[in-house]
Symmetry: C2
């Protein structure tokens, strides 16, 4: 068995190396590649993906997994070996169900849908995007069909982003969450909006970047094993625990974007940096799921970065860097300003009180599209009526409505809910962490973040993708995903700020 | 046959895509990768190389080449098809002769030799490097043995860098060149050295970079299909004709390094950008050889960049950028300063009159090591006596002598001579180009470089690696590699500067 396991590991290192090469080429494409490189890069990524897929789904890998499956139970269930066999088998069986002709067609259709979406968004014309989206939706339904029998047609899609989680579970969670979020929003709506004009003064870009780097260095982002670059759409990619890249964006007229965006991506980055290095070159050397990943970014961005203790420590430094812009703004005014609640049309600009509502409406529409109860042609009106219902707003056009997100054009159905789940999990983790670190607020107000990172490393990061996300959350917090801690957090925070 | 050719092309696109991915990962490693990425990057590059090698040397590729070989003669000899079959077969047959165990051992030994060389150079201690170099030399001799029968043991090594060129040919060329270079140097040695102190003032780095970019933009380097970054050791890498990356280095105390280094790398870069895009994703989408590549970099760096007409155009701009440093330096003083001749110990700092002598001594030592007439232990003294003979200097230590170059530690025996051959070829090309462009000097003095680039594109660049380098040189200049044009160029230039 030892020999078979070694052989499996050897075959998987090749797959991981190829996937890592794809990640490096993808990172380069987003950050630095000159425009002329686009066509060739598409070919290179296609070839790497094809070879990695062929190697992963080879008969030899299949046979080894079959042989090791029952034998693997001899390892302790939490051991690297047992987890490797289990998680690899899970992915292998999923990949084997999808015919390669489907993968090729899906790549072609989504690649085209993406460029059409870009143009449709630019001219705010959903009708241009509609035929492409219809093809994408049909392909996603076909994808689900490869995984029959399922309880719900949306289950296989969700499983790609959140392994093991079922549609019914997400619905249950959101059904509890929705009325509470709406009630909180209504309570806040009656109160005066905190001052925030000072956040949109002129803030030199290089100083914003400098401040962001100071903050995440203090958090514990390791520059010997990472770097930061500028992109239009910020993201994080980890090639292994020794090389994790984050990107950020800066607006010289808006202070918030770079600061909170940088903390967000550093949260993702520190997760990848914290995985046990012994898992490198295995499929376990990544985050456990999108929701767990998002819980880490949100924890640093919001639970830490939008907290009062954080700014007790960092606000004097920020004032020092931007004296003319902030010298007359008190810490309290600043804190209330960055935590103001304003229902808005665009998800990525949403505050903590409204963000999840943006997600819920998307999830409902995705599910309806997959079930067939909503036709693509009726999507804009369904979108707009839900925006009105949840946020009290009316999109002036499709660019500020149904066309705002890239995800559907790329076939990413099942992705959105992980953003909201990540928010919920971040608060669950925060409650567990607060129980273990008695002086948490004091530490933060003194710029001492090591206890937090150490705790996250021990409880979450080091395990990589060893455990299914629901198991990991249960290990760490004692329950599955649940909305109560997040609502407790929001209610406490906004009660204080808005005197609810 | 059509079908077989299509199949061969399809298989080769995969190989090229994999090699391109290696190139991207290599570029990233040299320019941006954080230190922690090193170990993983080594694995990724190793995996990509192994898969590319296996795919290129597969039985199917071999069979297709065998079938297409005779049939390929139906294509016109200069057609893309005939060249693809010929050049691919050539590389295939070479790769098949080298056992994979040898490749693995060679990679391991040179990887270790490289790190030992770094330490040995830092402490200027050849005895530390000696055992590693002995292993490398033994492996290089073994490599040559795979290609028996050969006329000279050095032939197979040279062939890796300069396909088709024989040791006897290089010896013949250098035997003619050497006494002429030495005689020129002696003639110059009796004359006063031009003033050059002004080149080592304080020159802000960002302004140097700005000037370099202005120059190469004017040359025709295409930023839509390329970029420039900073590295300790400048290099150029082309992923395809749409994405060519150059790097440069800047010394805030020395003006020459960045200016001429940038022009040099842009010369390499414009070659890669100028290859016919229809050759992309084939093994023909690269330069024809190291010497041809170096001829392009040297042509722009020296024939253009160190010429008087070039500075007639660009010196006013340089003075504008560095007013306090250069306002009292005349164009003539500047021109003579950047063309001063000073025998020095370090190859990469050598001027045009002495550079080739650095190469010749290395070639002689390489050949002697391969023939077995020189033992590694006697290398330092052999080195020092040749430096004395050719340059009139005595290295104070090994770091400034036999340990200065990285090449041998990496097993690059056969590489050095292409630097000198590139110099010779640059002057051959320049004579041919001058005959076709009557107003060449006037064009240059007006900042008009399009006629040069257009000529190079038509005669050289677009062909990529379709032709063996000696054939290409003959097509372009009417002869094989010959030293006379280069000596004519040097003699004319230095006669004017030094009043010889």
């Amino acid at each position: 068995m030892e020999q078979k396991l070694d052989r499996l590991k050897a075959l998987l290192t090749e797959v991981v190396d190829l996937r890592t090469a794809q990640a490096v080429l993808g990172w380069d494409q987003e950050t630095l590649m000159p425009p002329g490189g686009a066509l060739g890069r598409g070919y290179q990524l296609g070839t790497l993906a094809k070879i990695a897929h062929a190697k992963f789904t080879s008969d030899e890998v299949g046979q080894l997994l079959e042989d090791l499956g029952p034998l693997g139970k001899q390892f302790p269930p939490d051991s690297d070996e047992a987890c490797l066999i289990k998680i690899t088998l899970r992915e292998y069986l999923k990949l084997k169900r999808v015919p390669s002709e489907y993968v090729e067609e899906n790549t072609r259709v989504t690649s085209n849908a993406y460029s059409v979406w870009e143009k449709a968004k630019a001219s705010s014309d959903f009708s241009m995007f509609r035929p492409e989206l219809e093809k994408v939706v049909a392909l996603r339904r076909q994808y689900a069909s490869f995984f029959q029998p399922y309880v719900h047609v949306y289950d296989p899609l969700l499983d790609d982003f959140e392994p093991g989680l079922k549609t019914a579970e997400v619905k249950d969670i959101f059904n509890v969450l929705r009325p509470q979020q709406v009630a909180l929003l209504h309570a806040i709506a009656g109160k005066p909006v905190p001052e925030s004009k000072f956040l949109t003064a002129s803030y030199p870009e290089s100083t914003q970047i400098e401040f962001g780097k100071e903050v995440i260095t203090r958090f514990g982002f390791d520059w010997q094993r990472g770097r930061e670059d500028l992109t239009v759409h910020p993201f994080t990619t980890g090639f292994n625990t020794g090389d994790v890249r984050i990107t950020t964006r800066v607006d010289s007229q808006r202070l918030e974007m770079a600061i909170f965006g940088t903390m967000h991506e550093a949260g993702h980055g520190m997760y990848e940096q914290g995985i046990d290095p012994t898992l490198n070159r295995t499929p376990l050397a990544s985050g456990a799921s999108m929701a767990i990943h998002e819980s880490q970014s949100r924890l640093w961005e919001n639970l830490v970065g939008r907290s009062r203790p954080f700014w007790v420590y960092f606000y004097p430094r920020l004032q020092q860097l931007f004296p003319s812009q902030l010298e007359n703004i008190s810490l309290d005014t600043f804190y209330r300003g960055i935590n103001r609640v304003e229902p808005s049309l665009i998800r990525v600009n949403a505050d903590e009180a409204t963000y999840n509502l943006h997600i819920m409406l998307r999830l409902e529409l995705e599910i309806a599209l997959m079930e067939g109860s909503l036709a693509v042609k009726d999507l804009p009106s369904a979108w707009n009526s839900r925006v009105k219902e949840y946020l009290g707003l009316t999109p002036p056009d499709d660019a500020n409505g149904v066309l705002q997100d890239v995800h559907w054009s790329q076939g990413y159905f099942g992705y959105f809910s992980t953003y909201a789940l990540g928010n919920l999990v971040s608060a669950q983790i925060w409650e567990a962490l607060s129980a273990d670190i008695p002086d948490l607020e004091k530490d933060i107000s003194q710029g001492e973040f090591r206890p937090i990172l150490t705790w996250l490393r021990e409880k979450i990061h080091r395990h990589g993708a060893k455990f299914e996300p629901q198991d990991l959350i249960r290990k760490v917090t004692g329950t599955g995903i649940t909305p109560e801690p997040y609502m407790r957090y929001l209610t406490a925070k906004y009660s204080e700020i808005y005197h609810l």
